[in-house]
Symmetry: C2
Subunit: 262 residues, 2 copies
Protein backbone atom coordinates (compact mmCIF):
# COMPACT_ATOMS: atom_id res chain seq x y z
CA UNK A 1 0.00 0.00 0.00
CA UNK A 2 1.08 3.55 -0.52
CA UNK A 3 -0.05 6.90 0.74
CA UNK A 4 0.93 8.66 -2.44
CA UNK A 5 -2.03 8.52 -4.75
CA UNK A 6 -3.09 10.37 -7.79
CA UNK A 7 -5.94 11.88 -5.84
CA UNK A 8 -3.55 13.43 -3.39
CA UNK A 9 -1.25 14.83 -6.03
CA UNK A 10 -1.77 18.51 -6.47
CA UNK A 11 -5.38 18.47 -5.34
CA UNK A 12 -5.63 21.23 -2.82
CA UNK A 13 -8.61 20.43 -0.69
CA UNK A 14 -11.13 18.04 -2.07
CA UNK A 15 -12.09 15.59 0.65
CA UNK A 16 -15.29 13.86 -0.39
CA UNK A 17 -16.65 13.28 -3.87
CA UNK A 18 -18.64 15.85 -5.69
CA UNK A 19 -22.42 15.63 -5.62
CA UNK A 20 -24.61 17.48 -8.07
CA UNK A 21 -26.65 20.24 -6.50
CA UNK A 22 -30.15 18.87 -5.99
CA UNK A 23 -33.22 20.74 -7.03
CA UNK A 24 -34.78 20.00 -3.67
CA UNK A 25 -32.25 22.27 -1.99
CA UNK A 26 -33.75 25.75 -1.75
CA UNK A 27 -31.92 28.46 -3.62
CA UNK A 28 -31.03 31.42 -1.46
CA UNK A 29 -31.14 34.57 -3.49
CA UNK A 30 -28.82 37.52 -3.01
CA UNK A 31 -27.19 36.11 0.11
CA UNK A 32 -24.05 34.01 0.28
CA UNK A 33 -24.59 31.07 2.60
CA UNK A 34 -22.32 28.09 2.68
CA UNK A 35 -25.21 25.73 3.32
CA UNK A 36 -26.84 26.69 0.04
CA UNK A 37 -23.72 27.14 -2.06
CA UNK A 38 -23.49 24.89 -5.09
CA UNK A 39 -19.90 24.19 -4.10
CA UNK A 40 -20.72 23.12 -0.56
CA UNK A 41 -19.61 19.55 -1.11
CA UNK A 42 -16.22 20.58 -2.44
CA UNK A 43 -15.40 23.67 -0.47
CA UNK A 44 -15.13 24.52 3.23
CA UNK A 45 -18.30 22.70 4.32
CA UNK A 46 -17.00 19.50 2.75
CA UNK A 47 -17.05 16.66 5.24
CA UNK A 48 -18.89 18.64 7.90
CA UNK A 49 -22.04 17.42 9.61
CA UNK A 50 -25.22 19.13 8.45
CA UNK A 51 -25.68 20.87 11.77
CA UNK A 52 -22.17 22.24 11.61
CA UNK A 53 -22.76 23.58 8.12
CA UNK A 54 -25.78 25.43 9.49
CA UNK A 55 -23.53 27.08 12.02
CA UNK A 56 -21.10 27.89 9.23
CA UNK A 57 -23.78 30.26 7.94
CA UNK A 58 -22.80 32.59 10.77
CA UNK A 59 -19.52 33.05 8.96
CA UNK A 60 -19.41 36.55 7.50
CA UNK A 61 -17.43 36.85 4.32
CA UNK A 62 -17.38 38.85 1.14
CA UNK A 63 -17.22 38.04 -2.53
CA UNK A 64 -14.62 39.40 -4.82
CA UNK A 65 -14.19 39.27 -8.57
CA UNK A 66 -10.68 39.08 -9.97
CA UNK A 67 -10.12 39.56 -13.69
CA UNK A 68 -7.73 37.43 -15.72
CA UNK A 69 -4.05 38.10 -15.01
CA UNK A 70 -4.90 40.20 -11.94
CA UNK A 71 -3.48 39.16 -8.56
CA UNK A 72 -5.66 38.34 -5.57
CA UNK A 73 -2.74 38.75 -3.18
CA UNK A 74 1.03 38.95 -3.46
CA UNK A 75 3.69 37.34 -1.38
CA UNK A 76 4.51 39.59 1.53
CA UNK A 77 0.99 41.02 1.74
CA UNK A 78 -0.47 41.03 5.22
CA UNK A 79 -2.42 37.85 5.83
CA UNK A 80 -6.06 38.52 6.69
CA UNK A 81 -8.20 36.30 4.50
CA UNK A 82 -8.22 32.85 3.12
CA UNK A 83 -9.95 32.55 -0.23
CA UNK A 84 -12.32 29.92 -1.54
CA UNK A 85 -12.54 29.88 -5.32
CA UNK A 86 -16.12 30.26 -6.53
CA UNK A 87 -15.41 30.24 -10.24
CA UNK A 88 -12.41 30.33 -12.52
CA UNK A 89 -8.83 29.21 -11.99
CA UNK A 90 -5.87 30.63 -10.08
CA UNK A 91 -2.20 29.92 -9.95
CA UNK A 92 -0.06 30.44 -6.85
CA UNK A 93 3.56 31.36 -7.34
CA UNK A 94 6.81 32.36 -5.68
CA UNK A 95 9.33 34.91 -6.88
CA UNK A 96 12.83 33.92 -7.95
CA UNK A 97 15.91 36.10 -7.77
CA UNK A 98 16.06 36.70 -11.50
CA UNK A 99 12.49 37.97 -11.60
CA UNK A 100 11.08 34.71 -12.90
CA UNK A 101 8.32 32.98 -11.01
CA UNK A 102 7.93 29.44 -9.79
CA UNK A 103 4.34 28.23 -9.94
CA UNK A 104 3.49 26.28 -6.78
CA UNK A 105 -0.09 25.31 -7.48
CA UNK A 106 -3.29 25.68 -9.47
CA UNK A 107 -6.65 26.19 -7.79
CA UNK A 108 -10.12 25.65 -9.18
CA UNK A 109 -13.68 26.04 -7.91
CA UNK A 110 -14.16 24.93 -4.32
CA UNK A 111 -10.47 24.92 -3.47
CA UNK A 112 -9.07 27.09 -0.72
CA UNK A 113 -6.02 29.34 -1.12
CA UNK A 114 -3.88 31.34 1.25
CA UNK A 115 -3.34 28.99 4.18
CA UNK A 116 0.42 29.45 3.87
CA UNK A 117 -0.11 32.93 5.30
CA UNK A 118 -0.98 31.66 8.77
CA UNK A 119 2.69 30.85 9.44
CA UNK A 120 4.07 34.36 9.61
CA UNK A 121 1.05 36.61 9.24
CA UNK A 122 2.03 37.40 5.65
CA UNK A 123 1.25 35.60 2.43
CA UNK A 124 4.11 33.32 1.41
CA UNK A 125 3.02 33.19 -2.21
CA UNK A 126 1.08 35.22 -4.75
CA UNK A 127 -2.25 34.24 -6.28
CA UNK A 128 -3.01 35.25 -9.87
CA UNK A 129 -6.22 34.68 -11.80
CA UNK A 130 -5.78 32.70 -15.02
CA UNK A 131 -9.22 33.77 -16.23
CA UNK A 132 -12.02 35.94 -14.89
CA UNK A 133 -12.74 34.59 -11.42
CA UNK A 134 -14.75 35.05 -8.28
CA UNK A 135 -13.70 34.16 -4.74
CA UNK A 136 -15.13 34.16 -1.24
CA UNK A 137 -12.81 36.12 1.04
CA UNK A 138 -13.04 34.61 4.50
CA UNK A 139 -11.52 36.61 7.37
CA UNK A 140 -9.17 34.17 9.04
CA UNK A 141 -9.51 35.74 12.50
CA UNK A 142 -13.27 35.42 12.27
CA UNK A 143 -12.98 31.82 11.12
CA UNK A 144 -10.77 30.82 14.07
CA UNK A 145 -13.12 32.66 16.41
CA UNK A 146 -16.04 30.65 15.11
CA UNK A 147 -13.96 27.48 15.18
CA UNK A 148 -13.10 27.96 18.86
CA UNK A 149 -16.64 26.99 19.81
CA UNK A 150 -17.02 24.31 17.18
CA UNK A 151 -14.64 21.39 17.03
CA UNK A 152 -16.13 20.26 13.72
CA UNK A 153 -15.20 23.49 12.01
CA UNK A 154 -11.83 23.53 13.67
CA UNK A 155 -11.08 20.10 12.39
CA UNK A 156 -12.06 21.11 8.86
CA UNK A 157 -9.63 24.00 8.89
CA UNK A 158 -6.85 21.80 10.27
CA UNK A 159 -7.60 19.21 7.66
CA UNK A 160 -7.44 21.79 4.89
CA UNK A 161 -3.94 22.70 5.96
CA UNK A 162 -2.86 19.12 6.31
CA UNK A 163 -4.22 18.37 2.83
CA UNK A 164 -2.09 21.18 1.49
CA UNK A 165 0.93 19.55 3.15
CA UNK A 166 0.10 16.18 1.59
CA UNK A 167 -0.44 17.83 -1.79
CA UNK A 168 3.00 19.41 -1.64
CA UNK A 169 4.50 16.08 -0.59
CA UNK A 170 3.26 14.64 -3.86
CA UNK A 171 4.63 17.52 -5.84
CA UNK A 172 8.01 17.17 -4.17
CA UNK A 173 8.00 13.54 -5.09
CA UNK A 174 7.17 14.42 -8.67
CA UNK A 175 9.87 17.08 -8.88
CA UNK A 176 12.43 14.91 -7.13
CA UNK A 177 12.10 11.67 -9.00
CA UNK A 178 10.08 11.75 -12.20
CA UNK A 179 11.02 12.45 -15.80
CA UNK A 180 9.27 14.80 -18.19
CA UNK A 181 6.67 12.31 -19.46
CA UNK A 182 5.79 11.09 -15.99
CA UNK A 183 5.42 14.66 -14.75
CA UNK A 184 3.13 15.77 -17.52
CA UNK A 185 1.08 12.57 -17.33
CA UNK A 186 0.63 13.09 -13.58
CA UNK A 187 -0.39 16.68 -14.18
CA UNK A 188 -2.92 15.82 -16.86
CA UNK A 189 -4.46 12.98 -14.90
CA UNK A 190 -4.81 15.24 -11.90
CA UNK A 191 -6.44 17.96 -13.97
CA UNK A 192 -8.76 15.36 -15.45
CA UNK A 193 -9.83 14.08 -12.04
CA UNK A 194 -10.42 17.50 -10.59
CA UNK A 195 -12.47 18.61 -13.56
CA UNK A 196 -14.47 15.41 -13.40
CA UNK A 197 -15.18 16.06 -9.71
CA UNK A 198 -16.67 19.39 -10.78
CA UNK A 199 -19.00 17.85 -13.29
CA UNK A 200 -16.90 18.45 -16.38
CA UNK A 201 -15.63 15.85 -18.81
CA UNK A 202 -12.63 13.91 -17.58
CA UNK A 203 -11.47 13.15 -21.10
CA UNK A 204 -11.81 16.47 -22.87
CA UNK A 205 -10.93 19.79 -21.35
CA UNK A 206 -9.46 23.20 -21.82
CA UNK A 207 -6.31 24.04 -19.88
CA UNK A 208 -6.34 27.47 -18.37
CA UNK A 209 -2.58 27.80 -17.99
CA UNK A 210 0.18 28.40 -20.53
CA UNK A 211 2.97 25.98 -21.40
CA UNK A 212 5.34 28.20 -19.45
CA UNK A 213 3.13 27.98 -16.34
CA UNK A 214 2.81 24.22 -16.62
CA UNK A 215 6.56 23.98 -17.08
CA UNK A 216 7.30 26.13 -14.08
CA UNK A 217 4.93 24.05 -11.98
CA UNK A 218 6.45 20.78 -13.14
CA UNK A 219 10.06 21.93 -13.02
CA UNK A 220 10.76 21.86 -16.75
CA UNK A 221 10.97 24.34 -19.63
CA UNK A 222 8.02 25.33 -21.79
CA UNK A 223 9.73 23.72 -24.79
CA UNK A 224 9.94 20.40 -23.01
CA UNK A 225 6.28 20.66 -22.05
CA UNK A 226 5.37 21.26 -25.67
CA UNK A 227 7.59 18.41 -26.90
CA UNK A 228 6.09 16.06 -24.32
CA UNK A 229 2.59 16.96 -25.47
CA UNK A 230 3.68 16.13 -29.02
CA UNK A 231 5.20 12.85 -27.85
CA UNK A 232 1.94 11.86 -26.13
CA UNK A 233 0.11 12.70 -29.33
CA UNK A 234 2.44 10.47 -31.36
CA UNK A 235 1.88 7.68 -28.84
CA UNK A 236 -1.86 8.16 -29.41
CA UNK A 237 -2.44 8.97 -25.76
CA UNK A 238 -3.80 12.47 -26.39
CA UNK A 239 -5.09 14.83 -29.02
CA UNK A 240 -3.72 18.27 -28.41
CA UNK A 241 -4.76 21.54 -29.96
CA UNK A 242 -3.05 24.36 -28.13
CA UNK A 243 -4.75 24.32 -24.73
CA UNK A 244 -7.49 21.96 -25.75
CA UNK A 245 -6.79 18.40 -24.58
CA UNK A 246 -8.59 15.22 -25.51
CA UNK A 247 -7.51 12.11 -23.62
CA UNK A 248 -7.58 9.14 -26.02
CA UNK A 249 -5.94 6.46 -23.92
CA UNK A 250 -6.48 7.03 -20.22
CA UNK A 251 -4.91 3.73 -19.25
CA UNK A 252 -1.84 4.44 -21.33
CA UNK A 253 -1.50 7.83 -19.71
CA UNK A 254 -1.91 6.24 -16.29
CA UNK A 255 0.81 3.74 -17.11
CA UNK A 256 3.13 6.56 -18.16
CA UNK A 257 2.51 8.10 -14.77
CA UNK A 258 2.71 4.90 -12.78
CA UNK A 259 6.18 4.10 -14.02
CA UNK A 260 7.53 5.41 -10.73
CA UNK A 261 4.61 5.86 -8.43
CA UNK A 262 2.38 3.28 -6.76
Amino acid sequence: MSAVTLEAFATPICIVPWRQATDSAPIMPLKTLCSSCHLRDLCLPCGMAGSDVQRLDNLKFGRRKVKASQTLYREGDRFQFIYAVRSGTFKSSLLLADGREQVSGFYMAGEVMGLDGVAHGAHASSATALEDTEVCAIPYAHLTELAAGNSGLQHVVSRLMSCEIVREHSLMLLLGSMNAEERLAAFLLNQSQRLKARGYSASEFHLRMSRAEIGSYLGMTLETVSRTFSAFQQQHLLEVDKRYIRVIDLDGLTRAFEMRLH
Copy 2:
Protein backbone atom coordinates in the same frame (compact mmCIF):
# COMPACT_ATOMS: atom_id res chain seq x y z
CA MET B 1 11.31 41.73 -1.16
CA SER B 2 10.66 38.05 -1.21
CA ALA B 3 8.92 35.58 1.03
CA VAL B 4 11.30 32.79 0.19
CA THR B 5 14.13 32.95 2.66
CA LEU B 6 16.81 30.61 3.79
CA GLU B 7 15.20 30.45 7.21
CA ALA B 8 12.01 29.14 5.72
CA PHE B 9 13.67 26.53 3.55
CA ALA B 10 13.31 23.13 5.07
CA THR B 11 13.00 24.35 8.62
CA PRO B 12 9.97 22.57 9.98
CA ILE B 13 8.76 24.59 12.90
CA CYS B 14 11.16 27.07 14.40
CA ILE B 15 9.32 30.32 14.96
CA VAL B 16 11.31 32.43 17.41
CA PRO B 17 15.03 32.32 18.09
CA TRP B 18 16.52 29.83 20.48
CA ARG B 19 17.22 30.90 24.06
CA GLN B 20 19.47 28.94 26.35
CA ALA B 21 17.69 27.28 29.26
CA THR B 22 18.23 29.45 32.31
CA ASP B 23 19.35 28.10 35.63
CA SER B 24 16.68 30.12 37.36
CA ALA B 25 14.01 27.90 35.83
CA PRO B 26 13.26 25.08 38.26
CA ILE B 27 14.06 21.59 37.08
CA MET B 28 11.08 19.27 37.26
CA PRO B 29 12.23 15.77 38.04
CA LEU B 30 10.59 12.66 36.67
CA LYS B 31 7.75 14.58 35.06
CA THR B 32 7.57 15.90 31.53
CA LEU B 33 6.24 19.44 31.54
CA CYS B 34 6.45 21.71 28.53
CA SER B 35 7.03 24.76 30.73
CA SER B 36 10.23 23.29 32.13
CA CYS B 37 11.48 21.56 28.99
CA HIS B 38 14.84 22.73 27.75
CA LEU B 39 13.34 22.81 24.26
CA ARG B 40 10.40 25.03 25.22
CA ASP B 41 11.59 27.92 23.09
CA LEU B 42 11.90 25.79 19.95
CA CYS B 43 9.12 23.29 20.31
CA LEU B 44 5.36 23.50 20.73
CA PRO B 45 5.40 26.23 23.39
CA CYS B 46 7.41 28.45 21.07
CA GLY B 47 5.76 31.82 20.64
CA MET B 48 3.11 31.18 23.29
CA ALA B 49 2.41 33.54 26.15
CA GLY B 50 3.75 32.36 29.51
CA SER B 51 0.25 31.82 30.85
CA ASP B 52 -0.62 29.67 27.88
CA VAL B 53 2.48 27.56 28.37
CA GLN B 54 1.35 26.93 31.94
CA ARG B 55 -1.91 25.62 30.60
CA LEU B 56 0.05 23.49 28.16
CA ASP B 57 1.23 21.55 31.20
CA ASN B 58 -2.20 19.96 31.29
CA LEU B 59 -1.26 18.25 28.06
CA LYS B 60 -0.74 14.57 28.76
CA PHE B 61 1.80 12.91 26.55
CA GLY B 62 4.33 10.14 26.67
CA ARG B 63 7.97 9.82 25.82
CA ARG B 64 9.32 7.28 23.44
CA LYS B 65 12.83 6.24 22.52
CA VAL B 66 13.50 5.18 18.93
CA LYS B 67 16.81 3.55 18.06
CA ALA B 68 18.78 4.37 14.94
CA SER B 69 17.18 3.07 11.70
CA GLN B 70 13.91 2.20 13.50
CA THR B 71 10.69 3.80 12.30
CA LEU B 72 8.50 5.93 14.52
CA TYR B 73 5.54 5.53 12.17
CA ARG B 74 5.00 4.37 8.61
CA GLU B 75 2.86 5.82 5.88
CA GLY B 76 -0.60 4.36 6.13
CA ASP B 77 -0.44 3.93 9.90
CA ARG B 78 -3.45 5.27 11.73
CA PHE B 79 -2.87 8.86 12.77
CA GLN B 80 -3.10 9.35 16.53
CA PHE B 81 -0.06 11.29 17.67
CA ILE B 82 2.08 14.10 16.53
CA TYR B 83 5.67 13.83 17.65
CA ALA B 84 8.05 16.46 18.99
CA VAL B 85 11.68 15.48 18.69
CA ARG B 86 13.45 15.64 22.06
CA SER B 87 16.84 14.42 20.90
CA GLY B 88 18.39 12.97 17.77
CA THR B 89 17.43 13.32 14.11
CA PHE B 90 14.67 11.85 11.95
CA LYS B 91 13.98 11.66 8.28
CA SER B 92 10.48 11.56 6.80
CA SER B 93 10.00 9.71 3.55
CA LEU B 94 7.52 8.46 0.95
CA LEU B 95 7.55 5.15 -0.86
CA LEU B 96 8.12 4.92 -4.60
CA ALA B 97 6.82 2.18 -6.87
CA ASP B 98 10.21 0.57 -7.35
CA GLY B 99 10.72 0.22 -3.61
CA ARG B 100 12.99 3.21 -3.34
CA GLU B 101 12.14 6.02 -1.00
CA GLN B 102 11.91 9.75 -1.47
CA VAL B 103 13.06 11.68 1.58
CA SER B 104 10.72 14.60 2.25
CA GLY B 105 12.34 16.15 5.30
CA PHE B 106 14.78 15.99 8.18
CA TYR B 107 13.72 16.80 11.73
CA MET B 108 15.88 17.72 14.70
CA ALA B 109 15.30 18.57 18.37
CA GLY B 110 12.25 20.73 18.98
CA GLU B 111 10.71 20.11 15.57
CA VAL B 112 7.28 18.56 15.20
CA MET B 113 6.51 15.64 12.89
CA GLY B 114 3.35 13.94 11.74
CA LEU B 115 1.02 16.82 10.92
CA ASP B 116 0.45 15.41 7.45
CA GLY B 117 -1.65 12.72 9.13
CA VAL B 118 -4.45 15.10 10.02
CA ALA B 119 -5.61 15.17 6.39
CA HIS B 120 -6.91 11.64 6.09
CA GLY B 121 -6.49 10.16 9.55
CA ALA B 122 -3.48 8.16 8.40
CA HIS B 123 0.16 9.11 8.21
CA ALA B 124 1.10 10.24 4.70
CA SER B 125 4.81 9.61 5.24
CA SER B 126 7.11 7.44 7.32
CA ALA B 127 9.46 8.71 10.02
CA THR B 128 12.77 6.94 10.56
CA ALA B 129 15.40 7.67 13.22
CA LEU B 130 18.84 8.49 11.80
CA GLU B 131 20.42 7.97 15.22
CA ASP B 132 19.19 7.00 18.67
CA THR B 133 16.37 9.41 19.43
CA GLU B 134 13.69 10.36 21.89
CA VAL B 135 10.32 11.96 21.09
CA CYS B 136 7.29 13.29 22.91
CA ALA B 137 4.19 11.56 21.55
CA ILE B 138 1.30 14.02 21.77
CA PRO B 139 -2.21 12.61 21.27
CA TYR B 140 -3.68 14.80 18.55
CA ALA B 141 -7.26 14.41 19.78
CA HIS B 142 -6.24 15.53 23.21
CA LEU B 143 -4.32 18.47 21.78
CA THR B 144 -7.31 19.71 19.76
CA GLU B 145 -9.51 19.24 22.82
CA LEU B 146 -7.20 21.43 24.86
CA ALA B 147 -6.91 23.89 21.99
CA ALA B 148 -10.70 24.29 21.79
CA GLY B 149 -10.64 26.28 25.02
CA ASN B 150 -7.41 28.13 24.27
CA SER B 151 -7.05 30.24 21.18
CA GLY B 152 -3.35 30.69 21.84
CA LEU B 153 -2.69 26.98 21.64
CA GLN B 154 -4.96 26.63 18.65
CA HIS B 155 -3.06 29.28 16.82
CA VAL B 156 0.24 27.57 17.58
CA VAL B 157 -0.99 24.30 16.08
CA SER B 158 -2.31 26.06 13.00
CA ARG B 159 0.95 27.92 12.64
CA LEU B 160 2.91 24.69 12.86
CA MET B 161 0.96 23.33 9.92
CA SER B 162 1.28 26.51 7.93
CA CYS B 163 5.04 26.52 8.56
CA GLU B 164 5.21 23.02 7.16
CA ILE B 165 3.43 24.28 4.04
CA VAL B 166 5.88 27.16 3.67
CA ARG B 167 8.80 24.80 4.22
CA GLU B 168 7.57 22.56 1.43
CA HIS B 169 7.09 25.59 -0.82
CA SER B 170 10.78 26.29 -0.46
CA LEU B 171 11.71 22.72 -1.20
CA MET B 172 9.52 22.70 -4.30
CA LEU B 173 11.27 25.82 -5.45
CA LEU B 174 14.62 24.18 -4.87
CA LEU B 175 13.63 21.01 -6.71
CA GLY B 176 12.01 22.92 -9.53
CA SER B 177 14.63 25.48 -10.37
CA MET B 178 18.05 24.95 -8.84
CA ASN B 179 21.10 23.03 -10.03
CA ALA B 180 23.15 20.57 -7.99
CA GLU B 181 25.49 23.13 -6.40
CA GLU B 182 22.68 25.46 -5.47
CA ARG B 183 20.70 22.62 -3.93
CA LEU B 184 23.53 21.32 -1.80
CA ALA B 185 24.53 24.84 -0.73
CA ALA B 186 20.95 25.54 0.32
CA PHE B 187 20.82 22.29 2.24
CA LEU B 188 24.10 22.92 4.07
CA LEU B 189 23.23 26.49 4.96
CA ASN B 190 19.90 25.34 6.31
CA GLN B 191 21.53 22.61 8.39
CA SER B 192 24.04 25.13 9.65
CA GLN B 193 21.34 27.56 10.76
CA ARG B 194 19.25 24.96 12.48
CA LEU B 195 22.21 23.55 14.36
CA LYS B 196 23.26 27.04 15.38
CA ALA B 197 19.75 27.67 16.71
CA ARG B 198 20.25 24.64 18.94
CA GLY B 199 23.48 25.91 20.42
CA TYR B 200 25.83 23.96 18.16
CA SER B 201 28.50 25.37 15.91
CA ALA B 202 27.22 26.81 12.65
CA SER B 203 30.51 26.23 10.87
CA GLU B 204 31.44 22.72 11.91
CA PHE B 205 29.02 19.86 12.22
CA HIS B 206 28.29 16.21 11.72
CA LEU B 207 25.62 15.27 9.21
CA ARG B 208 23.39 12.49 10.43
CA MET B 209 22.19 11.41 6.99
CA SER B 210 23.88 9.47 4.19
CA ARG B 211 24.74 10.79 0.74
CA ALA B 212 21.86 8.74 -0.62
CA GLU B 213 19.41 10.37 1.83
CA ILE B 214 20.68 13.86 1.02
CA GLY B 215 20.41 13.05 -2.67
CA SER B 216 16.89 11.74 -2.37
CA TYR B 217 15.88 14.84 -0.42
CA LEU B 218 17.48 17.18 -2.96
CA GLY B 219 16.33 15.30 -6.04
CA MET B 220 19.74 14.10 -7.22
CA THR B 221 21.80 10.93 -7.11
CA LEU B 222 24.20 10.09 -4.32
CA GLU B 223 27.10 10.28 -6.79
CA THR B 224 26.19 13.85 -7.68
CA VAL B 225 25.98 14.75 -4.00
CA SER B 226 29.44 13.34 -3.46
CA ARG B 227 30.83 15.11 -6.50
CA THR B 228 29.31 18.40 -5.44
CA PHE B 229 30.88 18.07 -1.99
CA SER B 230 34.21 17.57 -3.71
CA ALA B 231 33.60 20.58 -5.94
CA PHE B 232 32.87 22.78 -2.90
CA GLN B 233 36.08 21.53 -1.33
CA GLN B 234 38.07 22.45 -4.43
CA GLN B 235 36.46 25.89 -4.37
CA HIS B 236 37.64 26.17 -0.76
CA LEU B 237 34.09 26.62 0.50
CA LEU B 238 34.12 23.53 2.70
CA GLU B 239 36.31 20.91 4.26
CA VAL B 240 34.60 17.56 4.02
CA ASP B 241 35.50 14.32 5.74
CA LYS B 242 32.71 11.85 5.17
CA ARG B 243 29.87 13.28 7.24
CA TYR B 244 31.96 15.86 9.04
CA ILE B 245 31.57 19.27 7.46
CA ARG B 246 33.60 22.38 8.16
CA VAL B 247 32.33 25.52 6.49
CA ILE B 248 35.33 27.61 5.41
CA ASP B 249 33.65 30.32 3.36
CA LEU B 250 30.11 30.97 4.51
CA ASP B 251 29.69 33.94 2.20
CA GLY B 252 30.86 31.95 -0.77
CA LEU B 253 28.44 29.19 0.06
CA THR B 254 25.67 31.74 0.45
CA ARG B 255 26.50 33.18 -2.96
CA ALA B 256 26.35 29.70 -4.48
CA PHE B 257 22.88 29.39 -3.02
CA GLU B 258 21.72 32.88 -3.88
CA MET B 259 22.37 32.42 -7.58
CA ARG B 260 18.69 31.78 -8.07
CA LEU B 261 16.96 32.67 -4.85
CA HIS B 262 16.46 36.06 -3.24
